[in-house]
């Protein structure tokens, strides 16, 4: 009997099951085999959210030029892979790539997400590729959240502190002047109330849940004397300081002086909110300077440090992305060498590269002393807003903390519940503290800072 004669529904289903089973076996086996990435050791992939992007802006060009300069003098080539910033920050491309064993050789990482990748064992120690003077060149604290046990797992390309941007026109319309810039939380709510009108909010805090919202709320927690995890024998998240910080944001919403839903990309988007007149004051980062320079050239604005609570100590949160190398990539050594060259080289070319990134194509504070000095010499901080960042905002600042996703989520839930859900701040903090406490009991990863 020929094979075709045996084609029945039953046999077809049997055959289908065999095909399905075979197809299943391969991915299951590879999945259980652990994460090795394969790839081409002579051409490394570099995932980022700057370039080459469709707008071909100056930041994209900096990345393209950086890679071109490296490729011109090295056998191992780098290939850029661009992802839109929203996909990179909140999407699943990077995580999916790693879970499939296809993570990029080099990628950008923020302190907020550091522990996920460090604890996952995919970060390469860059210290062997850096000379002591190169390491010493990084500003005080700039490497702290990228280090574990003395090893360096990422080199920061920038420092991005948070402050409050304000609209000069809105202040003038409300008959307020520079002398009215709020210095305390109480003054902040008061001034925001005066700036609020039928089509404008006085103040804008981030309301979209996510890493960024936590990043912008932490300074208020710290200024009041609180912490997300127990620090120096402190009580951890359920403390009066945390309750007060949660209450500040809650009061701004309850008093209808801050929006429940910001415009554009939210709190990171200065032109869409401050520039459009939607808000008169906005808590955001130093990147707002270059955003406004590009989108709202004639917009009159100023910057002031975050207000401090009664009896509190000023601080702010300093973010900034780092280049990191995938330890399971095709050629981790070459990837680490590239990063050390790109962001650590302290020859004239390396310093100029850093200056260009931090103060020409983007507004940041440089993470390295040599670059900062070069930028100062070039007059980068003559800009009034950047001068405020350098002289008033950064002193006393603290690096963006690195917490695990579990701690981040507990804090995020508390912020959301108090800010937008109207929950009692003390209860929201207690709920989060319980979750954090349970998690910390079984946590075995790197220290949270």
């Amino acid at each position: 009997m020929s094979a075709f004669e045996r084609v029945t529904r039953r046999s077809l289903l049997r055959g289908g099951a065999v095909v399905l089973g075979s197809a299943m076996a391969a991915p299951l086996l590879s999945a259980c085999g652990g994460g090795d990435q394969g790839g081409n050791p002579k051409e490394l992939t570099f995932w980022n959210f700057y370039g080459p992007n469709p707008q071909s802006d100056a930041q994209s060009k900096w990345f393209i030029d950086l890679v071109a300069a490296w490729n011109a003098g090295n056998d191992v080539k780098i290939k850029l892979h661009y992802l839109p910033v929203s996909e990179y920050l909140a999407g699943r491309a990077l995580q999916t790539a790693f879970s499939a064993g296809q993570g990029p050789d080099i990628f950008l990482l923020s302190p907020g997400d550091f522990l996920r990748y460090y604890n996952g064992g995919v970060l390469t120690d860059l210290a062997p590729h850096l000379k002591p003077d190169q390491i010493a060149d990084f500003e005080n604290g700039a490497l702290d959240t990228r280090k574990v046990d003395g090893k360096i797992y990422g080199l920061p390309m920038e420092r991005e502190p948070l402050a409050v941007f304000y609209s000069v026109d809105a202040f003038e319309q409300a008959k307020l002047s520079e002398g009215d810039l709020p210095k305390t939380w109480e003054q902040l709510l008061d001034v925001a109330g005066k700036l609020t009108s039928k089509d404008r909010f006085g103040m804008l805090f981030e309301t979209i849940p996510g890493y960024y919202q936590n990043f912008t709320w932490y300074p208020f927690m710290w200024m009041a004397g609180g912490s997300a995890v127990p620090e120096n024998g402190g009580p951890g998240f359920d403390s009066p300081a945390v309750h007060n910080a949660l209450k500040l944001w809650q009061d701004s919403i309850a008093g209808k002086i801050a929006p429940r839903k910001p415009l554009g990309d939210g709190g990171t988007d200065t032109p869409a909110n401050l520039g459009s007149g939607f808000a008169a004051m906005q808590q955001t980062g130093i990147w707002g300077v270059s955003q406004l320079a590009q989108s709202n050239k004639d917009f009159r604005y100023g910057v002031f440090p975050l207000p401090v609570p009664e009896g509190g100590t000023y601080t702010t949160s300093v973010g900034g992305w780092a280049f990191v190398a995938n330890a399971n990539g095709a050629n981790p050594e070459a990837a680490a060498t590239f990063i050390a060259w790109a962001l650590g080289a302290n020859d004239a070319e390396g310093i100029e590269r850093g200056r260009q990134w931090n103060t020409v194509v983007k507004a940041n504070l440089p993470a390295r002393t040599s670059v900062l000095e070069a930028a100062k010499s070039a007059g980068a901080f003559d800009d009034p807003a950047l001068k405020v960042f350098l002289e008033k905002v950064v002193p006393g600042s603290r690096g963006e903390p690195r917490y695990t996703p579990e701690v981040y989520k507990a804090v995020s839930d508390a912020i959301q519940a108090a800010q937008l859900g109207g929950a009692d701040p003390a209860k929201a903090a207690a709920d989060a503290a319980a979750k954090i406490g349970t998690f910390l009991k079984g946590y075995k990863g790197a220290a949270m800072l």
């Binding site: 999945a31 790693f98 879970s99 089509d199 859900g421």
Partner: protein, 316 residues
Amino acid sequence: MATVADPGTAVKRPPGAAPPVWNRRRREALAGYAFVAPDLLGLMMFVGLPMVLSLGVSLFSADGFGGYTYVGLANFRQMAEDTQLWQSVKVTLTYTVAFVPIGFVVSLGLALLVRDHFPGVGLVRTMFFLPHVISLVVVGIAWQFLLVDKQGAVATLLRPVGLGDTSFLGDPSLALGSLVAISIWFLMGYNMLILLGGLKDIPREYEEAAGIDGATAWQKFRHVIWPLLRPTSFFVLVNSVVGSVTGLQAFDLVYVLTQGGPAGSTSSVVFYIYQQAFTFNNYGYAAALTTVVVGFLVAATGTMFGLTKGGRFDAG
């Protein structure tokens, strides 16, 4: 010489000879399988295989970096104590209970409205259907503009009645309702077309006969149209329930408009699963949750099919 007539081929062959391999019945069967094969393979590869793999992964603790540890049913046991999961179940049920009946009534109303011919009926049908041809992400962005606090078109319209400060996407008591409304707006034209097809299949003579007997418009709908429309209604309702639970519309809207906020008020089960997988790298737990959701849907639709005799209701 005796001959054996093969009904399929009608070809004469010698006695004792084996029947031909390629008779018509087998050729037709093979052709049938060949036609079905691409769809079957696609379903196996892109639906069946991921479902089976998901079931497998649900028995492991997966760290998202290639590390898998067998944990048995621990991921399933974890669900009982996961308060956020139950909160997201509540969100999904609220969404479903609001979206399915209201969406159905709106779609049926539109279908009845455009059932009869009138000048411009084609244009009206097209306008109702138009939202469905737009990407949900674009729909989300468009509504985000309309619902902007203070400055949006909706806030401007509501200002004269004192509701200009209403935040439709930022207030936990309104955000889910806003998503339901946008989902209905998006899907009403599609369901309208399906129901319109069902209405067109109902012979006009039945309604005319009822009219001669003195039936009112409501009585005609209640006793003639509604019973005959039940199979179509069943299809629309099952689709809507499955779409609601699996986040067919809601996931995209939540992702674009609220990210599960404000204060978790729009964090549906599917969004929660997404967060477990891609925020926490808890792929095993996410797979277990997916397995339970699929199991629930299979049981729910199976029950609905059983109770309604496969949507035919009165079939013997």
